[in-house]
Symmetry: C2
Subunit: 126 residues, 2 copies
DNA sequence: TTCATTACTTACCAAAAGGTTGGTACTTGC
DNA sequence: GCAAGTACCAACCTTTTGGTAAGTAATGAA
């Protein structure tokens, strides 16, 4: 169905909600959801491993600082993409995983990854 | 050719080139390629219209400033995603379009858009 | 002569993103 | 008593990003 511009009658423009944020454009929503230097890599790791502890995630996402890792995880939790499970033990144990919405992004991420793969450099074979 | 130590035998780590930048990880490449507040929207508009003049793009990508539009277009041109055709006339006429590599991103963008669509808000019907 | 048009460019500024360092709480092992 | 291990927080700082406002070149129209 093609939506023409100024909706003449009672047609209302759709909005899209991610966590507590609202968007007019689905591309903007997606763009915002994955906006952050490490978010795609976090999702990628969680798509491979199902559940990961904070410290494991830190090892897998190479180069990320603790601050950014937590910050991104929190945002993604707010956005409903990531689950956080706390075990009341000492020393602390927290596991992160993808929610249903988060898992639904995996095919998209796969396409993004495949698109990136097509830019593989051709190496001379000495 | 610089090879870091990790590769014990003849195992070589692949690299991916976007314009003049090199990445170890295809996800990072993709992430970098679309990194910019307006880039996805620019690609989206160019995917719908095939070719657009600068001023038309400015109208279609709502809210973008001239500075950011040019800046992003230049980066995408360097990255090989966007074509720039200059007509030697006065007043100036420049058309932008997607390259083959740029067009190959359209299915990815479609998935991103569809993923965003799934977050449509349910509205109460008064 | 001055204006309009188009596709920029430049200078400057504010805000956001991200990095570094150091600290906390709690318990087990030495 | 002290260090180790875990999952964070808070301060501080630099870099990056994006926005605003103004100016430029070339030509034809008024």
């Amino acid at each position: 169905m093609i939506k023409t511009k100024k909706e003449k009658n009672n047609e209302r423009s759709a909005v899209y909600n991610l966590g507590s944020r609202t968007f007019d454009c689905p591309i903007e929503l997606t763009s915002t959801a994955i906006n952050g230097k490490w978010k795609l890599l976090i999702i990628y790791r969680l798509s491979l491993q199902h559940k990961l502890r904070f410290s494991q995630l830190k090892k897998e996402v190479k180069g990320v600082s603790e601050k950014m890792l937590i910050q991104h995880l929190k945002e993604m939790e707010k956005d409903g993409l990531v689950d956080r499970i706390v075990y009341p033990v000492v020393p602390p144990k927290v596991e992160y995983g993808l929610t249903e919405a988060g898992r639904s992004f995996i095919p998209v991420l796969d396409m993004m990854r495949n698109w990136g793969l097509s830019f593989i450099a051709v190496e001379a074979t000495t």
